[in-house]
């Protein structure tokens, strides 16, 4: 279970990026995180991933705090940024192996999962080519395979559908469902409201650093579409 309690973050002691955010994500949750540009989505995701420090509050995953037990927390986590800046000198497979090494995944298991997800994302051939020759979408897929290869309990994704072709986007949605059915938590930010509405069992809307709506998709939206609701409140 991921628990975020009263988390705040200020940049340069001036700009309040997120203010007293509290959320609770349970195993199996597919959580869509929406909000206007600059609302604080990426800041919160990065704070959960341990990439940036936050000023106050607590973030715990299965009892491990990202600030007090960062290594144990990160063992359960995968994070995929919106523009994955992968090591261009490596091949896709070498990059995935590097990530798998960090999580001490056995060769047998990693090869099994690489074959599974690379097949799903049509990356089997490309994985042995240098990342420097990849398109943005291929980098995104490589980062996804690397994230999935250690079977994390929490996956954080920042704008995961940007740059993906329709086939890959479909495969990603299927993978999201499969992973959450197995008990993992997925939290992703997106501007593609239709996808969030159809795919996620829970949503959160953030505006100016504060959560203004949060909960089960059906309850939050009632009989409105997410787009209409978003336009009303954002």
């Amino acid at each position: 279970m991921l628990e975020i309690k009263n988390v705040s973050k200020t940049y340069d002691k001036k700009k309040l990026a997120i203010n007293e955010i509290s959320m609770s994500l349970e195993p199996g949750d597919l959580y869509g995180f929406v909000g206007p540009n600059g609302a604080g989505k990426t800041t919160l995701i990065k704070a959960i991933a341990g990439i940036i420090n936050y000023d106050s509050g607590t973030i715990t995953l299965d009892g491990y705090s990202i600030s007090k037990n960062p290594i144990e927390f990160k063992k359960l986590l995968a994070y995929i940024p919106d523009h994955p800046d992968l090591y261009e000198s490596l091949s896709g497979r070498q990059f995935i192996d590097f990530v798998a090494d960090a999580f001490a995944i056995s060769l047998e298991r990693r090869n099994e999962l690489i074959a599974k997800y690379a097949g799903k994302f049509e990356m089997l051939e490309a994985l042995d080519k240098p990342i420097s020759t990849y398109s943005h979408g291929m980098k995104q897929k490589t980062a996804l395979i690397a994230a999935l290869v250690h079977e994390p309990k929490l996956i954080l994704l920042d704008e995961p559908f940007v740059g993906l072709d329709p086939k890959a986007a479909f495969a990603l949605k299927q993978t999201f469902k499969e992973i959450t059915n197995n008990g993992a938590i997925i939290l992703f930010s997106s501007h593609v409201l239709e996808v969030v509405e159809k795919l996620c069992n829970k949503i959160a809307i953030i505006k100016q650093g504060e959560i203004i709506a949060d909960g089960k998709t059906g309850i939050v939206l009632k009989d409105r579409s997410l787009e209409n609701f978003f336009m009303e409140i954002a």
Binding site: D12, A49, G50, I51, P70, I71, E72, K74, K75, L77, A78, Y79, P81, P84, D85, L86, Y87, E88, S89, L90, F98, V99, D101, A102, F103, P130, S132, T133, L156
Partner: protein
């Protein structure tokens, strides 16, 4: 994990693709020509400087020149590279969420930077070393002392360069056009060092970074 990180960082920083771009296979001829030109320029400059000392019979001064040259180069490269290598590395979004101890990460980054600096300074000072050993008959003890000196002389300058690199990055971060401010501050620092060295405030003998007694010990072996 340290060695795995090191392997990735080395490949990323020193790989052929990194140095010459992703289209390396299509431009082999141009790359070979570039490398030859580069090697020739540095060898000829280095040899001519070294030969100048050789013809004047200045064995000790040649060592001092090598020491100050490698120290200066170490300082400059640390100043230009340390912030990117150690403090604000662009791959942090990739390695930050991995379960790697910060100390392991820092040591791997530091090792990569040091290897980079030593490789560059070694390439630049190699002709001078060759001239020195044309000049002085090879002596194992002298060579070991020279090697130790070569590894340790630039360290204080590299540390200072790294801190200045961080300081400049921190100061420039507060401005809107941080890249421009960073460039201006770097340029101002280079200019200051250049002016001070020109007016004689810093020279190889007085420079606090180079322990002259070690040079004397090596040259007397």
């Amino acid at each position: 994990m340290f060695f795995k990180l090191l392997r990735v960082f080395f490949k990323e920083n020193f790989g052929v693709r990194r140095l010459f771009g992703s289209k390396v296979a299509n431009s082999k001829g141009r790359i070979i020509l570039f490398v030859l030109l580069f090697v020739y320029s540095f060898l000829s400059i280095g040899f001519s400087s070294g030969m100048m000392f050789y013809t004047m019979g200045l064995k000790r001064e040649l060592l001092l020149y090598i020491a100050s040259y490698s120290t200066g180069m170490g300082f400059l490269f640390a100043l230009m590279q340390a912030n990117g290598f150690l403090f604000q590395f662009k791959d942090y979004e990739i390695i930050g969420p991995l379960p790697i101890k910060p100390l392991t990460l820092l040591l791997a980054k530091l090792s990569t930077m040091m290897v980079f600096i030593y490789i560059v300074t070694f390439v630049l000072t190699l002709p001078l070393f060759i001239v020195y050993y044309i000049f002085v008959p090879f002596n194992l003890l002298g060579f070991i002392l020279l090697l130790i000196g070569y590894l340790f002389f630039p360290l204080p300058a590299i540390i200072l360069g790294s801190f200045l690199s961080l300081l400049i990055a921190r100061i420039s971060k507060n401005f809107k056009r941080s890249n421009l401010i960073q460039t201006i501050l770097m340029f101002a620092l280079f200019l200051t060092i250049f002016v001070i060295s020109m007016i004689g405030g810093i020279n190889a003998e007085q420079g606090s970074f180079i322990p002259v007694w070690v040079i004397d010990a090596i040259s007397s072996v």
